[in-house]
Every structure is written in C-alpha cells, then in structure tokens.
Symmetry: C2
DNA sequence: CTTCATTTATGACTATAGTCAGTTTATATC
DNA sequence: GATATAAACTGACTATAGTCATAAATGAAG
C-alpha cells in the first residue's frame, strides 16, 4: 500500500539535498499523518465505546477528516481493526516468543506463548472477538497481506520451537514442524474463542488449552 | 396465501376432541407455516443471489410477511442462516457418520466424515464462509442453542469413533475422546477455511487435512 | 508564476438492517 | 356472541456503513 516513490525527476540540486534530510514527499507525509490520526482516533474510540457503538462518522471527526476519506484508508469499518491492531498483535506474539526460556518443557513454552497472546485480548473481549472474526473471515478481499503476515509470523515462531525440540530429540521428527504448528494454533484459536465467549475463567482456559496441546505434543514425543 | 379454515368454531366437547387429534393451536400452526415460508424464501434467495445480494425486504416479500415480522423469527440477517441451514448441516454430518465402515482405518474414516461435511459447502463457498462465520462468531447472543446442538452432535460423533478405536486397542486410551475430537475438528475447520478462501483444490484440501489429522492420530496410536 | 495532470479529500447521498408504536388476530371467559 | 387479554404482525421510520461526483491539493514542467 505505502509506496515510497523516491526521487523521481528532480531539477534542483538543493531539492535533492533537502530530500536527503526529509526524503518523503509532502504528499506522502500528509498521508502518513492522516493515517496515524485515523489509527489513533479509531483505537481510542473502539477501546472507549466499543466497536459497535463507535460510528465511522465519529472516527472521521476525531481524526479530522471527511467521512469519505476514512474509506480511502480502510475498506470497511472492520478493516480498520486490522489497521489499528495488527502491529500490536504482532508485537505481542513476537515478545512472547522472545521471552521463552529454552530450558522449559516444550508444552510449558507453548502454553506461555498462547497465554500471552490471549492475555493481550483480556481487557476487551468484545473487541477481541470482532478482531479475530475479521482475521479469520476478512470482510471483502482486504488486508489479506497483513493478515497473512501476522499468521505467518506466529506459525514461523511455533515451527522454530518445534524444530529446536526435534533437533534436541525431544520431539519425533516425523512430521513437518509447520504443519504441527498449524495444529497447535488451531487448538489455541478454538479454545480462546470459547474463553472469549465467557464460558470459562482464564485458568480454566489455560488448563483446557494445555490438555489440547498435550494431545498433540505427547503423541509426538 | 391460502388459509385452511378447518375446525373454525366447535362446541366445547367437539373442540377438545379435535384438539386431541390436532393438538396445535391455530396460532402455533400459523407460526409454523410462516416460519416455513421464511425459511424457504431465505434459502432460495440466498442460494440464487447470494447472501449479501439478498435484502431482508426481499425475503419478507417472498415469504409474504412484513419486514418487521421477519425479525420476530430471526434476530438478524445472519441469524437466518442458522435457521435455514442448521438442520441440513446436522443431517449431512449425521449421514456422514452413518455411512462409515467400521473396518476402515480410523484416519480414513475421519477424512471421509470431514470430506462429506466440506463437500456439502462446495456448491456455494461464499455462503459457506458466512455461515461458518456465524457459527463461530454468532452475531448477538443468537441461536446459541442451535449452534451448540450442532457442534455437540459433531463432537459426539467423533468421540464415538475414537472411543471405539480405543476399545479396539487401536488408539491409546490416555486422552479423553471428547478433547481429541475437539482437536480434530479444529484441524478440519481451519483447513476448510483455507479451502473456502480458494487457496487449494479439493484434493489439496483433503491431503492437507489428512496430514493434519495424522499428526494427532498417529501420535496416539 | 502558470498550466496541466494526478492524487487525495470531501460530504451529500444511497441502500438497507433493524426498531417500535400502533394495529390486527387469536384465545379464554362469561 | 361479546368482551378482555395476550400474542403476533406491520410498515413507516431511524441509524449508519459505504459510494460517488465534484473539488482541492500537490507536483512536474516550462
């Protein structure tokens, strides 16, 4: 989406010099600023009032843009969610992986990662539900790249853990780590969904998730 | 719409006797008929024009009721999907289980069941996506009972398969069949989602699903 | 600075899901 | 059959996501 069309055809040398210091065009800068304002306005309103209770008009007003403009930056209201929360989710996942201690049992490490990812959604479950719905069922054909990137990062992280475990002989090397990662993630996802629906406490969720993960991991030992 | 004006006014005794044979009130009968008309109208329009392209007004008109009435029978447009397709999906699943041959390998049986369930959605992938979205993320607090019933039936069917396998010594009895069933289903669900997104052919989907299921099943052998 | 082309912004407008105050219909009771 | 109560129905109405024709801003080039 964000092209940087740098230094096309410049006439003045001074111009080029100025671009060294400030290499984005005014246009690009405006766009980024507007985008940032939209993201901030949307985040604040979604967290303050909830997704359904926030109107696109309110977001546009808070970001100080026209209603139509909003839809140049996001294809739909749901799409805004990805725009707003993708980086945050990605970072949560990456941080969770980074914090793992390699000497912990594999199952513990997995539970820790998923637990961290789930905890990130603890504060606002309704928002989380809609966000996850959008990730699994993207409304139009939109922001597929962002979603794929997020999922890829998670799968890669999990697969790395599994590869390490296989190398250490803790896990049978019979299966492709990536496929196993996908299995584990789908366990997490379903359990989290039920947790978000309010069926369980956080502890019950963690227990249940551990049991589900154990079925896969234990079998591959 | 054609009314059948049977048993309009009866004397007390005759009335009671008639009610023995036909124990539903006129009210209840009207409701059922209306409900049936709504279901049929919605099914036809959804399949003909697609979910997004069908308006609630069209459905109401086709069912010969007022717009407001529609929402006495379904809480939302999405809710209609469950109303319309739940029985069908339940039957597809049950039939798939019934057709299994106990002497086939467990993994084959699982693939067959899931394949049958997925095939049911093959004709109309877009509709399937929205339907599955509604099942996993019911819009309001909507039709939760129906959804739970459907999921329970599937889990029970899978768990029965696994219990049989455990009894036959094919599968280690270490884990709760229900939990294993949930694992397998979540594999199916995620793979089907990607298939519906158009990433794979049906064959690729089946292969991939088999691989995912094998990770769990193999480990428990 | 002026012109022209391209990108970006705008808000009046449209389409439609869902609501609600008022109406009709069914049933129970006399 | 008349009346009262409750259940079911209705369509005009509201709220709002998303569109689109038009306008403004930006940048390139002379």
């Amino acid at each position: 989406m964000s092209h940087d069309s740098r230094a096309r055809t410049k006439t003045a040398v001074a111009r080029v010099a100025a671009d060294r210091l400030q290499p984005v065009s005014r246009r690009e800068r405006n766009k980024q600023e507007k985008r940032a304002r939209i993201v901030e306005a949307a985040r604040q309103l979604f967290q303050e009032k909830g997704f359904a209770q926030t109107t696109t008009l309110e977001i546009a007003e808070a970001a100080d843009i026209g209603t139509g403009t909003l839809f140049l930056y996001a294809r739909s209201k749901e799409d805004l969610l990805i725009l707003v929360f993708k980086d945050e989710m990605l970072e949560t996942a990456m941080t969770a992986f980074a914090r793992l201690r390699a000497e912990d049992p594999l199952l513990d490490q997995l539970v820790q990662v998923f637990d961290a990812m789930a905890s990130h959604h603890e504060r606002d479950r309704d928002l989380a539900k809609i966000l996850l719905r959008e990730i699994m069922f993207p409304a139009n054909g939109d922001r597929l790249t962002d979603i794929a990137e997020l999922m890829d990062a998670i799968f890669a992280g999990l697969a790395a853990l599994l590869t390490t475990a296989q190398a250490a002989g803790i896990l049978r090397a019979k299966f492709d780590p990536r496929l196993v990662a996908e299995n584990l993630f789908s366990n997490y996802f379903m359990d989290m969904l039920e947790w978000l629906r309010g069926l369980w406490t956080k502890e019950a969720f963690r227990d249940r998730l551990r049991q589900h993960l154990a079925i896969t991991i234990d079998g591959l030992r």
